[in-house]
Every structure is written in structure tokens, then in C-alpha cells.
Symmetry: C3
Subunit: 368 residues, 3 copies
């Protein structure tokens, strides 16, 4: 495992103009197509036709009668009608305009009009989909490059020894504004008002790793009061704890955050820690809007509905009303910042986000 301190890297990047100028590009970088994205929660998919825009393509999602998830381009090649305005007929989908009927592979199987001949090029583009970890994963790039083994391990979602609380919403910003948000939890002090627990304390540890294309950002606060999500579940409420966050990013926009509290000196010890895994999946809807799927899977208070409520509230308040509102405000500021030549600055805590952007720049360049 490559281990690095952030010292030189940051000094260079905060003083180099070229590094600085690259920082405006993340929000207009071409979307990465050769990757698995969360298209929907598994239980969103059923018999009815679900229309969802993904990577700026209109996609039709449904399940066949045997339960297989299906993703087709949501445009009939006859007169360009959206297929989701049609209806299911067995495993097929019937266009609501003139009745052209396609099977789950996108092959036209019926033309009810006139001579009833099926034109050979009548087909809907089909997209690879896989159901795993309660998620419908979709591959929007070259189909021959899609391998289910590339899907990252999100087995924390719904794991039997955890209690998972899930949610999702749409953000009116480029997905990178949410990725950068999640890669630097230092914003929690200011945006989420968690000043009680962690303000004015020094980070005891801040490590940035890179491994197999993933970027890890690990932080540790020693001997502080437990943050509020955990406070009620620590044995003694006045007890000081070690609070740690281990974040892993995988391209292009999958983030897992192990965050927990441990008795002082025992950070991350699985025997004594109580923690939750935040699973964050950011799927670009367009260049400027994002589907945000998230789950929190905790290893404590598994049967406690009040703990569920804590996470539900957190998802609504912190992820939606605070993080996403901020991302949307920044999205609107980006053209101004660019036009006004704002000289962006990096802080030491931006190292992991910086690396993420460097990797995505390479991936995007390779796809062009």
C-alpha cells in the first residue's frame, strides 16, 4: 500500500498556477462512460416502465417477468417517441405511438402497421445492467468493456450484520461538486454545524493513500466528545473518544465512508468501535445535474428505530438541504468564477480531492 504524506504535494499545488487553473475544469470535464453507475435502487424497478436520464442519455428501465433488470434507450427509432409513454406486454415494451414492439434486448419483434414488415435496423440500443448490493448497476460505455467483476464491493448495503438506511435525491450540480464534498469532511464543522464535537481540535492523523486506482483519505481526532450521530450509543456519555473517518473513492464517483468512534487509543479496533459505512453513489444525470444515491449501514443499535431516524434526518438535512444546496450554489457560481478569473486555492485537506481529479482527467483523456 502506497503511503504518502501530503506535504510537498500541497506546497506545489497551492503555488503552481497550472495546478490552480486545472481546478476549474473538474465541473466541465467530459463524463466518464466506461464505468458502472448506480441506475436505480433494486426495489425501484418493477413491472412499470421507469424513465431516467443517465450520462445525458434517456434510459428506459424495467424488469422482465423473470426479474431480470433491463435498460434500453428510451427513443423509438420509428418516430422518436419516448418508449416510457408506451406499455409492457410480457417481457416486451410496446411503443405508445404506432405500436412497434421490442423485446428486452431491444430487438423489434412486431410492427402492427401496414405491411407489418419489421425493418432490419429497427432496434433499441440496449445497455448492460447488473443487480448487486441492492443496486441496479448500468454501463453506459462500450459494451465490450463491461465486466461485472469491475463493480466495486458495496456489500455493506443491506449486509445482515448491519442496519442500513437508504435514500436518494437529485442534485442540480455537476457530480464532481458532490464528490469533492464527500472527499473533504472538514466542511462538516461549518456546513453541518458540528462545531460542538470537533471544532478547534487538531487532526491527529490525516493520511492519503492511493491503491489500484482508488483514493483513500483517512482522518483521526483523538480524545474528543463523540459526534452526535454516535453520542447516544457510547457507553458513558461523558467519555472521550477517538473519532475517525476512512474514505475510499473509486472512479468515477463511488465513495465509501467508514466513520466511527472508539475508546481512546483504539481507533478502528473492530472489537470496540461503533461505526457506520456511508455508501455514496453519484450518477451524472447530465453535465450539470446528478442522481445521488446513499445508504448508511451501522454496526450498532440494529433494532433501534430511533437510530434509523437519526440517519434519515441526517440524509435529509445534511446530504440534501446542506451539501446539495451548497453544491447547487457553487454550480451557479462556476461560470462567474471562470469569467472573473478567480484564482482558486487548495488547502492541505484537499489532497485527496486533487488526486481524484487527476485520475479522472486521465480517464477522460483516454476516453476522448
Amino acid at each position: 500500500m502506497a503511503h504518502e504524506t501530503r506535504g510537498n504535494e500541497m506546497e506545489n499545488s497551492t503555488t503552481s498556477n497550472s495546478a490552480t487553473s486545472k481546478l476549474l475544469s473538474p465541473y466541465s470535464r467530459p463524463l466518464i462512460r466506461n464505468a458502472w453507475y448506480c441506475a436505480a435502487w433494486a426495489d425501484e424497478l418493477g413491472e412499470t416502465l421507469l424513465a431516467r436520464r443517465i450520462l445525458d442519455w434517456p434510459i428506459l428501465l424495467y424488469r422482465t417477468e423473470s426479474g431480470d433488470p433491463t435498460a434500453l434507450l428510451d427513443i423509438c427509432p420509428h418516430k422518436l417517441a419516448p418508449m416510457h409513454l408506451g406499455r409492457r406486454e410480457g417481457d416486451n415494451v410496446v411503443c405508445g405511438y404506432h405500436g412497434l414492439t421490442f423485446n428486452q434486448h431491444g430487438t423489434c419483434v412486431r410492427n402492427p402497421q401496414g405491411n407489418q414488415i419489421i425493418p432490419p435496423q429497427a432496434k433499441l440500443r440496449s445497455f448492460p445492467v447488473v443487480e448487486r448490493f441492492e443496486v441496479i448497476w448500468i454501463w453506459m460505455g462500450a459494451p465490450e468493456l463491461a465486466g461485472p467483476s469491475q463493480i466495486a464491493d458495496f456489500s455493506d448495503i443491506g449486509a445482515p450484520d448491519r442496519k442500513t438506511v437508504r435514500g436518494g435525491h437529485r442534485v442540480e450540480s455537476n457530480y464532481m461538486l458532490m464528490v469533492e464534498n464527500l472527499m473533504d469532511l472538514g466542511h462538516a464543522l461549518f456546513l453541518h454545524g458540528q462545531s460542538a464535537g470537533t471544532a478547534n481540535v487538531e487532526l491527529a492523523e490525516s493520511k492519503v493513500f492511493q491503491e489500484n486506482g482508488a483514493v483513500m483519505d483517512q482522518r483521526l481526532y483523538r480524545g474528543i466528545a463523540a459526534p452526535f450521530t454516535f453520542a447516544s450509543y457510547v457507553n458513558r456519555h461523558d467519555e472521550k473518544v477517538d473519532f475517525w473517518t476512512d474514505i475510499t473513492w473509486r472512479a468515477p464517483s463511488l465513495i465509501q465512508n467508514y466513520a466511527g468512534v472508539s475508546p481512546p487509543g483504539q481507533a478502528r479496533d473492530p472489537a470496540s468501535a461503533i461505526f457506520q459505512v456511508g455508501s455514496h453513489m453519484l450518477t451524472p444525470e447530465t453535465q450539470h445535474t446528478t442522481h445521488y444515491f446513499y445508504a448508511h449501514s451501522r454496526n450498532y443499535a440494529l433494532e433501534d428505530p430511533e437510530a434509523d431516524a437519526v440517519y434519515k434526518t441526517w440524509q435529509r438535512k445534511a446530504l440534501k438541504e446542506e451539501d446539495s444546496l451548497m453544491a447547487e450554489a457553487i454550480e451557479r457560481n462556476v461560470p462567474d468564477a471562470s469569467a472573473m478569473g478567480v484564482d482558486m486555492v487548495m488547502l492541505s485537506t484537499d489532497v485527496s480531492g486533487f488526486r481524484v481529479n487527476r485520475i479522472l482527467d486521465e480517464l477522460a483523456a483516454a476516453e476522448q
Copy 2:
């Protein structure tokens, strides 16, 4: 009268890539200017100033005191105020900003400001208009090419031996999406749910004619149950009928549809048929929006308010909520289909629409 079967024409067009690629262009084709369009129903025009955008120009419409319809550019040449914010003064219109006054020919007849001199170039562009068939027809092209004799015969509207039900609404799509809709009534089975009468029956006749620049599409179903608009007015309700539709398109977007039912074997026999004439006039508001005017003139149940209600309901439900909603959905899909290289296909029933587009391509090319 030129008579053609559609066989070879379709085979060629469904396999030729060049023909296919042309099919994306209808919705971005430059609007045809040298043509008569329906600007308004005659009874929409009165003393008050009516503002309506036509072919992407803002037009001011009113009647003079002697009843002559008048169409002027809705932009005062002084300070660019919309003239419709002003007021009538006899046959003149007074700008609501500084009072420049123009007569019904667009000539400035009064400057109430300062030295009161009328600048020689102070005029509003005037557009040829003709009132005929309960319609105000407008010519948006070169005025010297405008001849009232070019106005198509829409004398079915309000004809004394018919009962006419009229309506209109605005569609948020290019006008061609509605033209293509009307040229292929095969969509009725799927979009309007008329499956009871006509599903799974073979077309006994399908002819496409072309004559003097008009395109005719005639279809016949033999021995079926009467479609619901006619069913109550057929002598015996269990009787099988011949159902026929005769559609005529004239450039750029005028469509007449004779649709009726006859005793078996007597299709179109005027003595025994009950039928209605659908008059459809599609006037581009902009490249992406359309004023849709329509009238249904029936030869039966002339005094029956229930028959009126059937057509009112049809206009609202089929033409507005179904056809127009579909056209609007396709309008939004067009940029995607183009970006994603969707390979459009033609069905045998698209021959008349294909010809319409070919003629309009030629007209548009000639105007450029």
C-alpha cells in the same frame, strides 16, 4: 391523377441510409414563408388588438371599422415597443409609448412628439391577409408572390349542409410532428386506444396519390365495427361497416381528412356514407412551437348537441392531450436522437409523410 403503389418506394427508403438520415431534418427544416397560413379564426378578430407570433415574427392583428382584417409587424420603429400595448383610433393603431400612429397599411400618419414631423421611413411592415372559410389567412413571404387564389379550398368549415365544431390550441413542438401525426392515422390504434374497432384487421386499401403538389393518403378497412365517433349514428348498431379515411395534405401544413363509414361494399358512396371532414391547419409559431387550428364538419346528426359534444371531447382528448402531448415529447427527444445517432426507420404507412417531407425539402431549398 397519378396513381402509385408504395411498394418499391418503401423498400428503397427503409434500406437507404441517405433517406434515413434525411428523416431527422424535418423538425429543423427552415420554415416555409411563401404560403398562406391560418393566422386566426375569423371570429377571433375584432376591434381589440390581437398579438400572435407567426413564423417567428410578432404580428399584430385587428379589423378595420369596415371589417377588413389587418396584419402588421408588432414592433414600433421608433423605440421598438410592441404595438399591441397601444390602442385603436378609428382604423389606426396608436403606439402606447410615444403615440406614433399608423394606419391599416402600416403607414405612419401622426407623430405627436416635438416638431411633429413624420420621418419618411416610419412604417410598420404590412402582411397580406384574406378572410375566407371562417379563417384569417396570412402570407408571411414575399408579398408580390401572394395570390388569394392559392388559398386551398377549406369550404367544408362552416358549410351549410354540415355541422362544424371548431377548436385550437398551442403545441410545443415543430409543426411537422403534427403533420406527420395526421398523415398516418395508424397511430390511432395505440395513442387513442381505438383498438376495439380496428385492431388486428388488415387494411383493405392503402393508396398514396400525388397531384398538383398535394399528397393524398387513402385507407379502407372492410367489414369492421364502426369507430366510436360514428357508432351511435349507424342504422343498426351491430352492423358491420366499411371505414375509410381520405387524407389530403397541401404545403406546407394544411390537412383535410374525410373519414366515414359506409355499408359494406359502398365505401365513400355519398348517398349512404356518414362522414366528417377534419380540417387541420398548422401554423408555426416558432421553429419549435405551433398554433394548431382544427374543425370537424359532419354530414349527419346536424342538430344533435350530443354529436357536437363527441367532437369537442375528441378535439380535447385526442388532438390535445394525446397527439400534442406525444408531439411535445418527441420534440424534446429530437436533440437526443440526433446526438445519439439513432437510426430512424420507416414503415410502409409512412409513405405519404415521406413524400410530404420530400416536397417541403424542395420548397425550403427553393426559398433559401
Copy 3:
């Protein structure tokens, strides 16, 4: 003082095509940056953070604890968050995302994140502001050119021997449409319905002056009934008066209008005139929207709330519902007029507006 009649100037400009074609450009002319603009009324500014877009830049406005007005770019250089989503801390402002803290000069004074080092380029651009005449004036151009002595004398606002009624609203048009509106009060007859007092009467005097870069337009009507704003305050209601308006424009969009009534033959005599000074400050929000600030300061009925109400009503009805609505309608017409090659005309009363545009053309050219 340069004195000119408008004769030749108008003849030339109404017949010259090049002068005419230039008339379309005022509404797309680049905004003038080296000038003092009204950013806000002084009493709009307090402890809270006020966000306002000015000349298409997002600006943050607040007062320090000692009362100094402060204007900073509303974009944090760290992650581009709008600073107005943060909070005050003494004279400083704290970013609501990661806590970067800036003083009233825009210098970063605290980085609470990670190594807490403040990057040298971390700053918010600061804009010169001056509080004078109940107005916060802002300079959006090159700071070294900003001199408070350049601020025009608007001491009528709130002057102790006057009674001032103030207001403001946002107009969805380029600021020049309001400037031209104010430079030609001939529109009042038509847009504001003041026909009772002044219709069909000849201007006894119409002078256009130019002096030190200012343009003055002075008009006089002799022996007419007093306009309604003054009518109740004239000694004898049936008395005929001289009604006069003296308008002064200063670049780019500051206008003062002295308008009053005097006994016949004594126009503008300070001893006998009752008048009001209209102070109009038009600050471009964007190229297509405007902040409109206005005050009416009268020399009569100083303690009369009914006179206040007359002006409040005038501001709402004439300036907002009539003038601004017209400007917004024209703004929407401008692209059409340009596309359709509308040949604009000038009237004799447009001389002052013509000169204003000529000066602004020069200023804009000098700034490019």
C-alpha cells in the same frame, strides 16, 4: 454652457442610415465599468450579508461594526461557494462551506482546515464603496481610477428642505431602455395617461445642452393646467401654469429630473415654483436586467402624508407598472427587431437620448 438647437442634428440623424443602424446597439453595448453606481440604499446595508449582482458580478455587501460599507466578490476562492451563505464574525465574513475567513478588505485571515496555513493567493476581490446621499456607491472598474469626487451630486435625496420619497425595483431589461425612457418625457402623454394636462399642446421650449459630459434636456409648456402630481398644491385650482422639466443625465445612467409648475411667465423662478427632483439611478444587474433606484424630493407639502402617497403611487404605477413593463416588452422585442431589419426612426424629441448614446459609445469603446 454649450447651447444648441436640435434642428440640423435631427435632420441628419433621421435620414442617415448609419445613424439609424447604430440605434439598435444601445441595448447590447458593453456595460461601462469605470463609473460609480448605486449598489444599494444606505439603509439596506447592516450586519447581515446582502448579495446583489452588479454589472454581472456577484457582490457581497455588508457594514463593518464601525459602520463602513464593504463590497467583496461573493465567491470563495477555495471551492467557489457564495460567501453570502456564510456568516459574519466581527468585521470578517466566514465561508459557510469550509470556514475560510476574510476581513473587510478581502484578505484571508483564517484557514481552520488541516495545517491551517493560509494560501497567499486566498483573497476576495474588494470593490471601492462610498456612502453618500443615502446611497452606497460602488465602483466596478479599475480601482486606481475610482475617486469619490467623481460621484455626482445627488444631495437632493434626503435634503432637509425637501421631503423625499424613495423606492426601487428590478427591471428585466437593459438599463438603456430605462435611460431612454427618462430622457424623453414625451411618453408620459401616452404611457402614463397624462393627456388631460398636456395633450395637444405645443412645447414652448425644448433645449438640449451638453456640459462636462452631462446631457441636459429642458422642456417648457406654457399656460396649461397643472399636471396631477402638482394640481392640489397650486394656489388656485383653475389657474393656468407654466410646466417645466429639466433633466440632467450623467454617465452612464444617473438622471435627475427637476419638474415643476410656476405662475405663467415665471418658469423655474425658485421663489414661486413648486417642484420635485426625481433622482433616478439605474444599475445594470446583467446585460439584460437592471436595479432601478429612485427618489422624489419635493419642495412643497413637506409634512403632508397625502403628498407622500401621491409619489408612492406614482413610483409604483408609472415607474414600475408602466415604464418598466414597457422597457421589458421592448427588451423582448429587440432580438426580433434586429432579425427583421426594422429600420428605426428618431423623432426630434430623441436628441438628448441620441447624445447620451453617442457618449456611451465613446466610453465603451475607450474601455474595450
